[in-house]
Subunit: 210 residues, 2 copies
DNA sequence: TATGGGCCTGACCGTTTGGTCAACATTGGC
DNA sequence: GCCAATGTTGACCAAACGGTCAGGCCCATA
């Protein structure tokens, strides 16, 4: 199984480059049109590649979709770890909310794909929800309950708290269009977004902190 | 233009019945598969009607989709009026949150269609957002600002507050599948949902009330 | 420069889709 | 019992779809 078993090797350059190109194009198209609405032709066009080439790297549309979802879930897992950077509830929640808001700001497409996936019944990520996500919630839920027992937090179902954080932060990605309209037709500027982040964090903290 | 200008009239009975049947079927199919994923054939099958009959009442898929969206927006506007039932911020917010949660509980499909529509860029309801919704937010935003001036509410951008309410309450409809998984594979019972409603309202009120 | 494997793609195919249409059924008024 | 409007439907079509494939290209090695 060593690197010597195959003859040539430094060829994988084009492969990595094109896979990245296709994944980025697919992320945009899936986010805007949904799974069924997205076409491999549209993804190929956006990646400036022939359709057959897309099918060379990702045999089926479903394979490509799952690869895109995997990338999204990886990013989210990384952001979720910011919850563990502190054992102080105010710190931990502030950091986590900020990290999720930052993701909604810089990578809104993934959030939209995730939302569509859940609304379809989560056929492609059911196992991820049941294993990884459930475990994360169980672990952090225990921390939240400890904070409550220590008198640091108002008694609140950890699931309700996490759901509020997810809902609100992801809303800034999923409903960006609605927010833009209510902001006078202009997307939130960096400053406006930073201010929204601060207010969201402050409101949630006031809501659960003792 | 009187009712006498056309000859016969009491015939519209089948029309109303079938239109309702089709709209309900369409709501379910659009919610689950998205605009592009939904097929007129699937909608017809769910309504137990031939596809051609669906096209008799709604000439195009787009017409049908817009009719479904109009129904959803009507319901939401009705729920939104519960915000005006009281001039006390605690009352008004509690009622509004409860009304939105109730909608998420009893009519989650509409919420999902709305979410998909926004994520597509809101092509079918752009004008509704710019007129009706913007006006609602402007009016109620003024009320919120008055409450803040009166020292009843913490200083918060009304848009941030409304967005948190929409995001959290609609999350219970849009992400019902995720909630179900985190609830041990079982959807929230009536009691669990009522408890979630109470905790959401309490947390948001604590977050903004003085 | 011959060879072989990774890479690339135009042309093609079976299926599904939104939508049409001609023909048929039903109904209430005269 | 006839008529005309309303309602109903199987059969059909052009377009778009996901996916296939034979053949060509490029390049490191021998």
């Amino acid at each position: 199984m060593g690197a010597s078993s195959t003859a040539t090797r430094p060829r994988g350059v084009a492969r990595e480059e094109n896979e990245r190109l296709i994944l980025e194009a697919a992320e945009a198209v899936f986010a805007e049109l949904g799974f069924k609405g997205a076409t491999t032709g549209a993804i190929a066009a956006r990646a400036a590649l022939p359709k057959a080439n897309v099918h060379y790297y990702f045999p089926s549309k479903d394979d490509l979709y799952r690869a895109v979802m995997a990338r999204v879930l990886d990013r989210w897992l990384a952001a979720a770890s910011s919850f563990d950077d502190s054992d102080d509830p105010a710190d931990a929640l502030t950091r986590y909310i900020a990290a999720k808001m930052e993701l909604s700001r810089t990578m809104p497409l993934g959030s939209r794909i995730f939302a569509s996936e859940i609304m379809r019944g989560a056929p492609a990520i059911a196992d991820h929800l049941e294993t990884t996500l459930a475990a994360w919630v169980a672990d952090r839920g225990a921390i939240v309950r400890r904070w409550i027992a220590e008198g640091k937090l108002a008694p609140v179902d950890p699931k309700v708290l996490f759901m509020m954080i997810w809902a609100t932060t992801q809303h800034y990605a999923d409903f960006a269009r609605q927010i833009e309209v209510l902001n006078g037709g202009r997307p939130l500027s960096d400053d406006e977004f930073a201010e929204a982040t601060r207010q969201v964090a402050r409101t949630i903290l006031r809501g659960v902190l003792l």
